[in-house]
Amino acid sequence: MQRLKEIFTDRQMYRAVLGMLAFVTVWYLLTAVFNLPRFRQIPNPLAVLKEWVSFEPVSGRSLFTGEYYLDIAYSVGRTLIAFSLATVLGVSLGLIMGWNRMFFDFTFPIVEILRPMPPLSWIPLAVLILPGVEIAVIYVTFIAAFFATILNTLLGVFSIDRNYFLAAKCLGSKPKDIFLNVVVPGSLPFIFTGLQIAMGVSWMSLVAGEIISGQRGLGYAIYEGYSLFQYDQVIIYMFTLGILGYISSAGIRAVGRRLMSWEARRRGA
């Protein structure tokens, strides 16, 4: 059984590596070999890699410069603040909305109108109302994640089988007990799906926010690289975002697995 698992994982690994190699090859062919007109200015993968690991990068940003990590720190900091706020507020509001019919009736229509508004459309208001550009960028990062979290938490509460509530009542639960023992654990799988989505939209909105009104950060640096014809920098930062996004998703999944061991065991993990 263990061996079988190893072979499977190995084969998976092997395919993953092949897939990536194919991707890089196509990129290399398009930019370095065929020299297509629209790709003439795009750096090839080798050039990007060289710049990324260079001790003296042309753009001033590589794995061996403080600048690079400062940009990452800014973006990660903003995302973390926005995402944490979205999680705390979104989960609490979602749980209360799902739990209390009256509160749901009051709030759901507003949520449904605000939710589809693209995060970037908030930028003018955010800049006008909030003190300082920094907080405005965090707000824009927060807003879409917040609604994604509310909605999924709410769906999570609604997804709970009615019999669990009835059983809990039979067993002598007070409302507080039902909230803690049925509503919260019962909606966790949906909450974590929501948090995954929220993390994704956080990064998206963050980069857009940083491009438009930010100072420092990955999105800002991408735009700066574009303006200054530092296309290596643009691509390095795009991949950096990809890696950070992957790490944050994996982090959420890991936390989810810990909190929902019953789910993991069901799937035989």
Binding site: Y164, G172, V182, G186, R265
Partner: protein, 279 residues
């Protein structure tokens, strides 16, 4: 024996109960003028065509739903009428059709949930009692497993134990063994027989399976097709504890014929009603 018998509670009196769903609109009469008595400590099997309103009665006794008219009494006390709906509570436990063990709690956490949440006992004492119950029925070693890791047969037994640990007056089971294969069902019947004989209490057992009804019941209550009324009560005079070889006995076959005849009549009516609705 007399003192023990006196301690048993859970006599249910169902008097002219009618339940109409959506009286202003669709007006579905689920149950009409249904009356019968259940003695304290009796194992009553309720059978009848699907959708006839057996669960309606369970919901009313459990306190999940109201009734439109009539009265239901528990040990002489009015618990449900036009003006009154009792709340669900620990004296009336329900074991649900599709199972309602909390999937996010382990077997142990599920079983001790009731006693702990009611604040009756300390967690450790409840855990001790739960462990004893589990070992009495030969289910040791599953305390830390989650329900989904267990076979559905074991899940059903754990759910029944979760109900019993609260010492309810009445245990109501809504087709609890539906979907189990014949072998698993036999194990369930023996399990239920064992826990019932160890501590008799009123059992309100809804089922489609006539063998199961006769094998387990003191009496089999046969309901009519919708709107549900009492069709017939068949008293089962087989000795306790019931054993599977009884299923071949002459007395058993006679009972089965009687039940089958009554059920078949109703099934035919239900079928014809269905035909009419289709036409």
């Amino acid at each position: 024996m007399t003192t023990a018998a006196q301690q048993i509670q859970g006599a249910i009196s169902i008097r002219n109960v009618t339940k109409i769903y959506d009286p202003e609109g669709v007006h579905v009469v689920a149950m009409q003028d249904c009356s019968f008595e259940i003695a304290a400590g009796e194992f009553v099997a309720i059978v009848g065509p699907s959708g006839c309103g057996k669960t309606t009665l369970l919901n009313a006794i459990a306190g999940f739903d109201t009734i439109t008219s009539g009265e239901i009494h528990l040990d002489g006390e009015l618990i449900s009428s036009t003006r009154k709906q009792i709340k669900p509570d620990v004296d009336r436990m329900v074991v649900f059709q599709n199972g309602a063990l909390f999937p996010w709690k382990t077997v142990m956490e599920n079983i001790i949930y009731g006693p702990v949440v009611q604040g009756r006992v300390k967690k450790s004492a409840a855990a001790g009692a739960a462990r004893e119950m589990l070992s009495q029925v030969g289910l040791n070693g599953i305390e830390d497993k989650y329900p989904e890791e267990l076979s559905s047969g074991v899940q059903r037994r754990v759910e029944i134990l979760r109900a019993l640990i609260n010492q309810p007056k009445v245990v109501m089971l809504d087709e609890p063994f539906r979907g189990l294969d014949a072998v698993a069902k036999t194990v369930m019947h023996e399990f239920l027989m064992e826990v019932f004989c160890a501590a008799p209490r009123t059992m309100f057992f809804i089922t489609h399976d006539l063998d199961e009804a006769i094998f387990l019941g003191n009496k089999v209550v046969i309901m009519t097709t919708r709107p549900a009324r009492l069709k017939k009560i068949v008293h089962v005079n087989l000795p306790w504890p019931r054993e599977h070889h009884m299923l071949g006995s002459e007395a058993y076959l006679e009972l089965k014929r009687e039940v089958l005849e009554a059920v078949h009549e109703e099934a035919k009516k239900a079928f014809e009603a269905g035909e009419r609705e289709m036409a």
